[in-house]
């Protein structure tokens, strides 16, 4: 029995479904490039939930677009590799990427999922369009069957398929979008702020749906700015700041023992319903995130960092491994 578990664990370590190496994607503007995702590297294992946390403008959503290959001007892919099940996303042509990768290997639940559904179409008609893009000869009955199954998986009745989006509540719409994103059985699903516009009780329903996806064998990337939400579901947490990864590690260890100064500051700014929070003053981080048109030369957090030294201002820190965690800071 013991060896079985070990094997499983060993297997898990080997089985990396998503490998991102040195990914760079910039937004092109009249004034130059906005370096929204600059040299991001991380790995993801099968059925793992990775939470990406950061403030607005730190490149979370840009990263989600780069990972799905949905790169359209003004966003430009600059450099780096995205390997999904060993398939290099950016070695394919956009057409091929759309055919072989989008929806089949990786799919995105966009941030505005509430408004992502076409208001003039019934949900089933939208789904027919999505499926026929990949399988042109699929009959409507067949599609209905697939869709009904997926809708049941996210806890919606198949009757919902025959409704217009405005007839659904916010939480139902969000679930419908999640169901559509798993129509073609992708291996990785990226959810971009899936809970941010919803009430707390509905948020919990959505989290439960995402948990069910994980149990179905889907690897999840959960992008959010709300640390208390992401900690409920994610196995590992990745903290981003100004286009760079500052810390990656197991959720528990990042929350209880943050290493990077930015993560530390972020954790002390979290408000939650626990007695300790009311007694201690929450703290803010002085200053503002840098302008990504001309980011600071060294560490991008150095202008706001209380511990910064000469080297921080000159050289950008690499991700260092410390007890199974990666931290990009000269001081740790």
């Amino acid at each position: 029995m013991k060896s079985l578990i070990l094997d499983f664990e060993g297997d898990k370590v080997m089985d990396e479904i998503l490998i991102v190496e040195g990914l760079k994607g910039f937004w092109r503007t009249r004034f130059g490039y906005i370096k929204a995702v600059d040299d991001v590297s991380f790995n993801m294992r099968r059925t793992e939930v990775v939470g990406i946390v950061g403030e607005s403008g730190c490149g979370k959503s840009t990263l989600s677009r780069l990972l799905t290959g949905a790169v359209e001007p003004p966003l430009q892919y600059i450099d780096g590799k995205v390997l999904i099940e060993g398939l290099d996303l950016y070695s394919l042509s956009p057409r091929e990427r759309r055919k072989r990768v989008n929806g089949k290997l990786i799919s995105l639940v966009p941030q505005s999922a509430m408004n992502a559904l076409n208001p003039t179409k019934k949900i089933i008609d939208l789904i027919v369009d999505v499926v026929r893009e990949h399988q042109p000869r699929c009959s409507k009955e067949e599609i209905f069957k697939i869709a009904a199954e997926k809708f049941r998986e996210v806890g919606l009745q198949p009757d919902v398929l025959d409704l217009y989006p405005f007839e659904l509540s916010g939480g139902m719409r969000q679930r419908a979008v999640i169901a559509i994103s798993i129509l073609l059985n992708p291996k990785v699903v990226i959810t971009d702020e899936p809970t941010s516009a919803l009430d707390v009780s509905t948020q919990k329903v959505i989290l439960n749906v995402l948990w069910r996806l994980k149990r179905m064998g889907i690897s999840l990337i959960f992008i959010t700015h709300d640390i208390a939400t992401v900690r409920q579901i994610s196995d590992r947490m990745m903290v981003m700041y100004a286009g760079k990864v500052v810390e990656i590690g197991g959720t528990e260890s990042v929350i209880h023992d943050p290493l990077h100064p930015y993560t530390k500051a972020l954790m002390s700014a979290v408000i939650s319903l626990e007695k300790e929070i009311r007694e201690k003053q929450i703290k803010s981080i002085p200053g503002a995130p840098p302008d990504l048109l001309n980011p600071p030369l060294g560490c991008r957090f150095s202008p706001r960092c209380p511990y910064s030294t000469a080297i921080c201002k000159k050289k950008s820190p690499p991700l260092k491994d410390i007890n199974g965690r990666s931290v990009a800071c000269w001081m740790v």
Binding site: V200, Q203, L266, I271, L273, S284
Partner: protein
């Protein structure tokens, strides 16, 4: 008693001929004392913003009364009332005139329409207020709204309210558009204003923020106040079913959901 709300209701009618009445706010009563933060918590559609608009005299109540310092608010001249009651809104970006040729200075000078001050004094009051809320006047004055961050803009809105020195500040989701790292500045600022004797009505959907900041808490659900009392009592000893569920569903930082992985 600074503000007393009694049996306040607002009924909206939808439809043209056979209108269906919607009770947005249903006979609520509460009081706000001087120097305390009262938070109004509820999900979207529970009537929080309707209540705040009625208190601000932007919306006429269907029935019930609002008393400010024991006078009905509609018996007080409008501008005098607004000198005492001011509001901060949710989205600092849309609370400003978006035309790019008005500087921040103008936003800060507008409230003086409610006051009679000389020009020299005006400059002085603006500078002092900015310093008071932790902004550097030399850094802020002369800039345009779009050059400032969300946290700075929200603080300028607060400064604008403070210039007229109101007794009651109504904050309608003041932090929902601001990042976690700058949210603390605004919340701690409101706390400090409370310590300086201002009364604040803090409206939010985020029960954790209300828990952090307020002295008393009112929980609204479907237009009614279902739970009220000192914060610690409401949070750790909720009476109404709805409050219990709300508190259970809020994600916590150091704890995982227990009933989650069914």
């Amino acid at each position: 008693m600074l503000l007393k709300v009694e049996n306040l209701s607002k009924i909206y009618r939808s439809g043209f001929i056979r209108g269906k009445p919607i009770k947005a706010v249903d006979k609520i009563s509460f009081t706000v004392k001087a120097g305390e933060i009262v938070s109004l918590v509820g999900e979207s559609g529970s009537g929080k913003t309707t209540t705040s608009k009625m208190i601000l005299r932007l919306l006429k109540p269907t029935s019930g009364s609002i008393l400010f310092e024991n006078k009905d608010i509609y018996s007080i001249p409008k501008f005098e009332y607004w000198r005492n009651v001011q509001a901060i809104f949710q989205d600092p970006y849309s609370s400003f005139n978006p035309t790019p040729f008005y500087k921040v200075d103008r936003i800060l000078k507008l409230p003086f329409k409610l006051l009679n001050t000389s020009k020299n004094e005006m400059e002085k009051i603006i500078r002092n207020t900015l310093i008071n809320i932790g902004l550097d006047p030399d850094d802020i004055l002369g800039r345009y709204p779009h050059e400032l961050s969300g946290g700075q803009m929200q603080r300028i809105l607060i400064a604008r309210c403070l210039i007229v020195d109101p007794k009651l500040l109504l904050a309608d989701e003041p932090t929902s558009m601001i990042d976690a790292s700058t949210r603390a500045i605004v919340l701690n600022l409101l706390k400090r204003l409370r310590d300086e004797g201002k009364s604040i009505i803090f409206i939010t959907h985020d029960i954790s923020q209300a828990f952090y900041i307020s002295d008393r808490m009112l929980v609204m659900y479907k237009g009614k106040i279902v739970d009220e009392g000192p914060v610690e009592e409401v949070i750790f000893n909720p009476k109404h079913e709805y409050t219990k569920r709300l508190i259970k569903d809020v994600p916590k930082l150091y704890e995982k959901f227990e009933d989650f992985h069914e």
